[in-house]
Assembly symmetry: C2
């Protein structure tokens, strides 16, 4: 594992074709199997195999696998490889870039934890909005039985892990360094708690420090382990967008949390939404609806609040609209204003009076005080005494297609 | 026009088939043409024609068209009908619900103003974020030569109109009451200024007060007049969503501005995005890109900021990542860490030193101070002294497909 750096696809092909022991033999002998060389040459961008072989040889000479395994065991980590009972088989979809092995540290079972898992990723330099949202998602997903997978970094990653721990659920940290290296070091207490309840994993051998390249390569594991990825906050230039690209290329679900358009930390999310690469996610339920099993994990339909007026039938509403809030009007003029016959108007007026919407005064009919006071914009209340019947376009029920009458819903 | 309330589709069909004078004759005689009755009966939900006719007759008896026209002229408004030079022909797409006529008040030409227009709509009870965004869109759209169409209400509507006026551009207010009625009355100075530079329009005769139904029916005009509608802020129950529905049913473009998921005033926008009914809009340029002419009105591609490191080639970046920030390392150990041959490493080290990225010290090579200090999350700077080469996943350049090298762009 020390011979090639993580994510080396040429090494991945070699090991996939001949197995790790034969690959090691070949590198020691500095001769690759001729069929492999011929196969690699057919690639669109053929790798420089001589350079690869030299690099692998040099690195292998410096490697000490026995010491690595001992260091891992000393720190309490275990090494799993494809075929181990704990190996998450969804990683096989990575093909040639599937990791050769994973170091796992923690009490949870990696494979089992990742069966129903969501990656929550985002900016390290998260705003308070981003951290708050990530924590809410960590709690919400965990409480619904979903494992949070993330990168253990500052900002969104850390907040998501903390949310999961707060809900008492295991969470999976995918590191870009050895599992015995604590990066960032301020997350030492967090990682210690995760080792108790969840797992820290890495494809890097113990003692390896993170590099830029390893962060990018690590991101493919976060995307591949989980059923879907949600980007909570991301600037236009962000590692989280790299994870999002991996999720899309693996045909995993991708969600993005919107934020204020004035926030640079949401610009990456908005671009994903604008390019229709990601689904707009506003709650953990939305994300579960996206990644969950059809029928089982449906998000509850968000309903607009119902007001008593919704229950009136159409002619009655028209009559109610035609009744003045001050003064008073006779049935005939109300009928003209509502565009209805006098009979129908009289019948509606009777019903409205019985329901308490209107009252009879010497001059005719008028609205009762409480029904005339609809919620208004704060400034309008101060500036403007309500004129005639006070209509509030912001509270008008939209067309029936969008907001089915709450009365229509059959009881569950 | 007084006989039927605005948006009466049965009256619309009658006038479309026989013309307004014959329709008036028929109502006066209380007999509809038999072919018309037969045609209406074929509809899926046939209207109650007797009730309609009675209502029209009653209302027509109370109407005084000459007084309406005089009142309009006295207030300074003009009446236009389909066929007038100022009639915006895009309203014809409303079919049976096309208004019979429009009262127009203001110095701008309605038809010309709406040729390139965008409807900016949203909640009356807008947050400061919504008002700010609406004003920015008003200014931005106007400065690019697009007319802002809205409803003149408090909140988003008013802010959008004010933004347009601030940019010195005409703007179109579609009222739900007569053009001589100032609703909301606190907008009197705003409406006065719009009459100077733009227009106020309404399909209601002078003196008519707004009702709930008229607000909803007015919204179809806002959607129909403009090439696209952008919803800035909307609760789940909002008149702006009604305008959005009209825009979709007219096959006009629909955009929605995202906001914090913690804001109830953005929940309606987020639902439009989630259901993929609306495009995510983060700037006036985004909206112009949506509604504009292909090629002419393209939004500038938003680019992530470039950092000098982007310009290095791949092997050089790998070598740079392998150089420690403290201590120092010889070329051989750097070559092993980077997984490259010694020759290639030495050549890259020379280049990096010449470009000022690294420096030679007695113990070998190390990063120069300024290149080691990448931007970090605010908390991380305080908590954690930088370890080894400081990788910053949030600043790592994403894959080339997403962010083409800024150097690749040919000069305009």
């Amino acid at each position: 594992m020390r011979a090639a750096d993580v994510g080396d696809v040429t090494m991945g092909s070699l090991v996939a074709a001949y197995g790790a022991p034969q690959a090691v033999e070949a590198i020691r002998a500095r001769t690759l199997p001729p069929e492999f060389v011929a196969g690699q040459a057919r690639h669109e961008r053929p790798p420089n195999l001589t350079a690869c072989l030299n690099a692998w040889y040099t690195r292998m000479a410096a490697a000490n696998p026995a010491a690595d395994i001992e260091a891992g065991q000393r720190s309490g980590a275990r090494l799993i490889i494809p075929g181990s009972p704990e190996w998450p088989t969804q990683l096989d979809q990575l093909g040639r870039s599937r990791p050769l092995g994973l170091w796992v540290h923690g009490n949870a079972d990696l494979r089992f934890s990742c069966l129903r898992s969501v990656a929550v990723v985002g900016a390290r330099a998260a705003t308070s909005y981003g951290s708050h949202t990530a924590a809410e998602f960590g709690v919400g997903l965990s409480e619904s039985g979903w494992t949070v997978v993330s990168g253990g970094a500052f900002g969104v990653d850390g907040a998501a892990h903390k949310g999961a721990l707060a809900a008492g659920a295991p969470t999976v940290v995918v590191l870009a360094c050895g599992v015995d290296v604590c990066y960032p070091s301020a997350h030492e207490p967090l990682f210690a708690e995760i080792k108790e309840k969840g797992v820290l994993i890495s494809e890097c051998p113990p003692g390896v420090h993170p590099t830029r390249a390893r962060f990018l390569i690590r991101n493919r594991l976060i995307a591949a382990l989980s059923r879907g990825t949600v980007v909570v906050e991301a600037a236009l230039r962000s590692g989280a967008l790299n994870t999002a690209t991996h999720a899309l290329s693996l045909n995993r679900h991708l969600g993005a949390v919107p934020g204020p358009i004035t926030s640079a930390m949401s610009a990456g999310c908005h671009r994903l939404l604008r390019e229709r690469k990601a689904v707009c996610i506003t709650s953990p339920e939305d994300m579960i609806d996206l990644v969950g099993v059809l029928g089982d994990d449906l998000a509850p339909q968000i309903r607009a609040p119902a007001v008593p007026r919704d229950r009136l039938n159409e002619p009655t509403k028209r009559v109610l609209d035609a009744v003045p809030s001050r003064g008073g009007a006779g049935p005939a003029s109300i009928a003209v204003a509502a565009g209805m016959s006098l009979d129908a108007t009289l019948s509606a007026l009777g019903g409205l009076a019985a329901a308490g919407y209107i009252e009879r005064i010497p001059k005719g009919w008028r609205l009762r005080k409480q029904t005339a006071s609809y919620r208004k914009a704060p400034d309008s209340t101060a500036l403007e005494p309500p004129p005639a019947p006070e209509p509030d376009p912001a509270e008008v029920p939209p067309p029936p297609d969008d907001f089915p009458d709450p009365e229509d819903v059959p009881p569950a």
